[in-house]
Symmetry: C2
Subunit: 513 residues, 2 copies
């Protein structure tokens, strides 16, 4: 026993369970981590060891953090460090003091274990779990186990409804002065499917309210907020968003600023790290966000394909029913559309590349991707019909008219202006084109592998990275003809994407006929 250290430690502390904070600046993404000396009096007296979960309190805020014990003089006696995530959650200050204690045992974790073992959970169980996740009381490991326990078809309909309600009850709800509030969502994601940027201006030009609060990519090369972010600012405050919506009827902004659902943020981040799809959790995530965003009518696009998330048409149809059922239980009117998800939409994959496709549709350019235009018109038409201001079946025609007359483009520019100003998307400095090795027909395009190429090239973090597809499925190509071009912002990312593309079979299938 080294009593000298005890004394030093005690001098450094105001009391036996308090330490002074030092900002180490370590970014652990979202996990709260506390760093403490291995000879720290608090560690020893409380029995804390690495990976212990510790209740850290400061300024009337608290967080449960995972302990990393530090042995190398990174911290002075009496000091503790925090990961940046914990620092933010505690609103900590350099040199400020923190109180440390064992966290109360989390009763809701027993429910998570029960779910892992296959039990049915009650509404109150989901409320507890989501409350604790939202409060940052779960470790990332706990969340990973919860997600895996809910994946596949392990949640019953009642459970999905209860999970959805729990996420809503845990969130911050935006209320709008008028209704209806229209919304859309694409379930599962399809590369290049950036219809929102076309649908919102059409629907708002028609006169409906459509404040689109969208997310950045979770596991895909681009989300709506990523693509919109290349054309205008998307990180608006609630007040700023309201100003845009008051004037234009709509917006396309990033959901992060509103922190609608803290629990969902945690779930999604771990889901992203795991690259995992959990249908029940996704339904809860999607529908709770719509309710929290104040939406009343939602069109949901479900692309269907062998390589997309909803692998068969048979799988998508029950999903549509599930969405309608869960939606109605939380006050949402939902219309689902099953669409073709067999290949990417438009030409670009990646934020800027997809933005370019969107602009050419809005501008009614001659070479605009017909598939993206068509999908957007179907969705916009259905949303307009849901408002019940026109007879069923006329939505598509009205939407087309608004687009063709340039009113959608003008509205889009106005929305961008309101959000801080329109800009043209940038182009990447590095690019290389993959060419066909022989003559034949493009019989298949693997969305998942293509998305992987775009992600390895840097998308969505690198805005102008991604890829550009030169031939759709079904088209004849000749040897030497360009199939797709990889865009990257650095040589090493380009090399990495090329390496993957060169060593992966079946990204595109070209068969002789």
């Amino acid at each position: 026993m080294d009593l000298q250290i005890d004394v030093e430690e005690l001098r450094g502390c105001e009391d036996r369970h308090s330490l002074h904070l030092r900002r180490l600046g370590i970014d652990t993404y979202q996990e709260a981590v506390i760093y403490m000396r291995s000879d720290c009096y608090v560690c020893r007296s409380e029995g804390f060891e690495s990976q212990s979960r510790i209740l850290v309190q400061s300024n009337s805020r608290s967080v449960v953090a995972t302990l990393n014990v530090v042995s190398n003089g990174l911290l002075a006696p009496g000091e503790a460090g925090l990961s940046e995530a914990a620092w933010r959650l505690l609103d900590a200050e350099e040199g400020g003091s923190v109180e440390l204690a064992h966290p109360p045992p989390l009763v809701s974790l027993n429910k998570v274990r029960a779910k892992i073992y296959g039990s049915y959970l009650e509404a109150e169980d989901y409320e507890q779990i989501i409350r604790d996740i939202g409060a940052g009381h779960y470790s990332d490991l706990d969340i990973a186990a919860f997600l895996a326990a809910c994946a596949g078809d392990r949640l019953g309909q009642d459970e999905i409804i209860n999970l959805t309600k729990a996420v809503i009850n845990n969130g911050e709800r935006i209320s709008w002065r008028s209704s209806p509030i229209m919304d859309k969502h694409t379930f599962g994601g399809l590369p290049g499917n950036r219809t929102s940027l076309i649908v919102v201006p059409i629907v708002t030009a028609y006169g409906l309210m459509m404040p689109k609060i969208s997310s950045r990519a979770i596991t895909s090369p681009a989300g709506t907020a990523d693509t919109m972010g290349t054309l205008a600012p998307v990180n608006l405050t609630l007040a700023e968003m309201r100003r845009v919506v008051d004037r234009e009827g709509g917006c396309i902004v990033w959901d992060r600023e509103f922190n609608l659902s803290p629990a969902d943020e945690y779930l999604i981040r771990v889901e992203r790290a795991l690259d995992l799809d959990c249908v029940g959790q996704m339904v809860a995530s999607v529908l709770s966000k719509k309710v929290l965003a104040g939406s009343t009518h939602v069109v949901i696009d479900i692309p269907v394909d062998a390589t997309a998330r909803h692998r068969t048409f048979e799988a998508a149809s029950p999903l549509g029913k599930l969405l309608a059922l869960v939606g109605s239980s939380v006050g949402l009117e939902i219309h689902t559309i099953i669409s073709d998800g067999s290949q990417p939409v438009g030409r670009g994959i990646g934020p800027s590349l997809e933005a370019r496709d969107v602009l050419s549709v809005l501008r009614n350019e001659a070479g605009a991707p017909e598939d993206l235009r068509e999908r957007a018109l179907v969705l916009a038409g259905k949303i307009i019909e849901m408002s019940r201001t026109i007879p069923e079946g006329q939505g598509r025609q009205i939407a087309t008219q608004i687009l063709m007359e340039g009113r959608a483009w003008q509205k889009f520019l106005n929305i961008c202006e309101g959000q801080g100003g329109f800009r043209e998307p940038t182009r990447a400095d590095f690019a290389q084109t993959i060419i066909s090795q022989g003559d034949g027909i493009v019989t298949n395009i693997n969305n998942r592998k293509l998305a992987q190429v775009a992600k390895l090239a840097g998308a969505p973090r690198a805005k102008s990275a991604g890829l550009e597809l030169h031939v759709p499925a079904g088209q004849r190509v000749e040897a030497g003809q360009p199939i797709y071009t990889i865009h990257a912002e650095t040589q090493s990312e380009l090399d990495y994407a090329l390496d993957y593309a060169g060593n992966t079979d079946g990204i595109t299938a070209i068969e002789e006929v």
Copy 2:
């Protein structure tokens, strides 16, 4: 863009993907973490961001680490830090250089996802998964998801066999010069059930080989190695263990030194953090360790109770069949015994307290706990019978004779001597006794909650912490009579255990009659 930093970074590096190591001394338990500056050239050129998985190579060793980006001058330009786990895996040196790259996509993670979605996995899939886990290529999150996907009854028998074989193929196997090699295991754990420390000396005194390679507690207040560790050194090298076994026929050592199964270590640590039981993974873990330890004949004790892991007799019986089936598929002869798991065995819970029970049985003391003695004799008898050196049904009698004649105690002392010397277990400085509030009969003792009290008091880390049970279930007590005593090495741990005990219903149930 700060070009100055680029230049500095380049000066600090031998090439664009290499950094020099600085030991930060951060203990993240087992997860490999790499710390890099936010302005690091490598981060920016490779597109790494916090939580990225990075292939770190040094001295022909490699590890996949999770990135934590550091912004606060913790590292100099050109430097990278490693968690202690990564430092060990790389056998790193201060100032040594590491090469950094994107890790190859882990194909086996697709299999984990398939399992999460409910698919059946093939033998080759488990081989890949276990190989990647053993190589440290999975993040803790990935492992957590894999465990949750395998929990409950989600692994079929074939899958459990294939998982077991995969763990064996990934491990280091100890071979012994003679056979049979006897072994025992208690499945699921029952507080105080430290029979191995009595069985090994009996069986080896009889003349059989029984090198017991045991583990520390995973989620319980004490494991065999924890309890043995209070009586003699348990961290022997393979050569040291062989010397003891050559001379005494047996030993009771800690498995950690042999690193029999690197993959299993990872799985167990995450399982511990999740406090999760996964039957298939536990069967694979237990049986693979027996094979890797060179055992040929194993008696497995399955305690059965409402609060123990195997909640009903009906659940335990299929488990026995499963163990026999999987065992025979990997060359083990297995005999399972279903035993009473309705209450703790002996009086103590926690390493030193359990050791005191063991010693009183071995020394044939008058007040020795009869239940512990009885269980040990049944197991030792069955192991002796499995050797087929005596007729069926005589094992118990021979075991009793060996114990009564003091030959087991002498053998235990010899084994301790061989392992580095016998010592008496220590006593804790802090203790408080919980007394009965009224008259009645102890109708129930909740093992799980009792174990939680012992853990909160500091067991198994604090060797002398835990609790001592004064009355068994079924016994009549009067108001004021001691029920159990909590032992702790610090006041705050004692307080924490008392707080839990005072606020938790049903740790012991006393009913008026």
